[in-house]
């Protein structure tokens, strides 16, 4: 399986972290990189949406929201059946896996472009829609209709969080300005995108390595879940992609979204709404295991599977 070179940056970060290098990017740099990625992905989605019939778009967005709920419920069921974690932890982890990781999505896009495979670029719009529903579901699963702090302050937390605001804001900017209007900002937001992603992955590698220490403490069950769940999520994504008639490239993106677990919006929201859930469990699973797995193994693997099932995908 050939890897896009940006993955090498992730491996570098991971190796440096595991070998206890003191290399770190300052928090402000991480913040800048993630703001740039979120805005760029949002704008790409927005620019692509103008070409899509409204009806098709709407129905696909609804489908995708359902997909987030299905993935989250699958995770919850799996964890409950295993009877290893309290309900609140199971619900919190379910929220993470029903939601999505924008960084993983960006790697999948880079992978497709590296292979020269085309995809429906309006799928970036799905990212926003996938982010929120599973989080709300996780809260309800944990606490019924009584989140800590109450719904109003929680709604602010969920809908006004960094990732939703930047993805949605970027999308609106993309829709309004269109490709021609955004030409001026292309050098920073689009041409430099892959370099920014590389730097971001370097930092994610360092972070993942840091999280691996606690990961071992949480035992083999969590590890197994964090390796199996992305496969389930990818299959759910593949099923929805088939039903929605996406191209193989688009299917890979939807698989990746299904397989990926949130590490921005979900942790923030669950910390506020379900404080009794241990944030260490969900973050370790999503950051230290699932993120590296998807980035290094999952994405090429999902594409193999898609090639087997899609009639028009080259092998």
């Amino acid at each position: 399986m050939s890897l896009d070179p940006v993955i090498l940056f992730f491996l570098l970060g991971l190796a440096a972290g595991l070998m206890k290098s003191d290399l770190r990017l300052p928090a402000a740099v991480y913040e800048l990189l993630s703001v740039l990625l979120l805005l760029a992905i949002g704008m790409k989605g927005g620019m692509a949406m103008s070409g899509v019939p409204v009806l098709q778009l709407t129905s696909q967005l609804v489908a995708v929201a359902v997909m987030g709920l299905v993935t989250g419920l699958a995770a919850f069921a799996l964890l409950l059946l295993a009877r290893r974690l309290p309900r609140s932890d199971a619900a919190s982890i379910a929220a993470h896996y029903g939601s999505v990781s924008v960084g993983t999505y960006a790697v999948a896009v880079a992978y497709l472009e590296y292979l020269g495979v085309s995809y429906e670029s309006y799928i970036a719009a799905f990212v926003v829609v996938l982010e929120v529903p599973a989080i709300l579901m996780g809260i309800v699963l944990a606490r019924g209709l009584k989140p800590a702090g109450g719904w109003p302050s929680l709604a602010n937390e969920v809908f006004m969080g960094k990732s939703v605001v930047l993805l949605l804001g970027g999308m609106l900017i993309g829709i309004i300005a269109g490709p021609a209007g955004l030409e001026g900002i292309a050098p920073l937001f689009f041409d430099a995108f892959k370099g920014i992603l590389a730097l971001f992955l370097l930092e994610m590698g360092l972070i993942a390595a840091l999280q691996l220490g606690p990961a071992r403490r949480h035992g083999v069950f969590l590890l197994a879940f964090a390796l199996v769940m992305p496969l389930i999520g990818a299959l759910i994504g593949a099923a929805f992609a088939l039903a929605m008639g996406l191209s193989p490239g688009g299917a890979l993106l939807l698989c990746t979204l299904g397989a990926s677990a949130s590490y921005i919006a979900a942790p923030a929201a669950m910390r506020m709404a379900v404080p009794e859930a241990n944030p260490g469990l969900s973050l370790t699973a999503s950051l230290a295991v699932t993120f590296p797995f998807n980035v290094l193994v999952g994405i090429p693997l999902y594409y193999r599977i898609i090639q087997a099932f899609w009639p028009d995908a080259g092998a």
């Binding site: 928090a27 991480y30 930092e203 972070i207 923030a268 910390r271 260490g280």
Partner: protein
């Protein structure tokens, strides 16, 4: 004149809520610095999505400090990384606090 300096070290994500809480209990001000640390809930380092700590200082009357401490103990101690400590300090304009 003496006042109490109450210091809270806790998760950065609680910032907004705690500011509201301490105002409700009668504090007239606060100061926040960013921090990292380690305690019973493991290492907390900034560098990623509010993974770090904040350190909140409140100069106030002893009774206010006690009230805030009790409130925090009841509402946050179980679920959040948090410690707090306090001591007396000399201030110039006691009416301010």
């Amino acid at each position: 004149m003496q006042r109490t300096l109450l210091t809270i070290i806790t998760e950065a994500s609680l910032e907004r809520r705690l500011i509201a809480d301490i105002k409700t209990h009668g504090a007239h001000g606060y100061t926040i610095t960013e921090a990292q640390g380690e305690g019973s809930r493991g290492v907390r380092q900034p560098g990623f999505e509010k993974a770090g700590n904040i350190r909140i200082e409140i100069v106030c009357e002893a009774s206010v400090a006690t009230q805030i401490a009790l409130w925090l103990k009841e509402h946050y101690y179980r679920d959040y990384a948090m410690i707090l400590f306090s001591h007396e300090v000399e201030v110039l304009r006691p009416d301010k606090f």
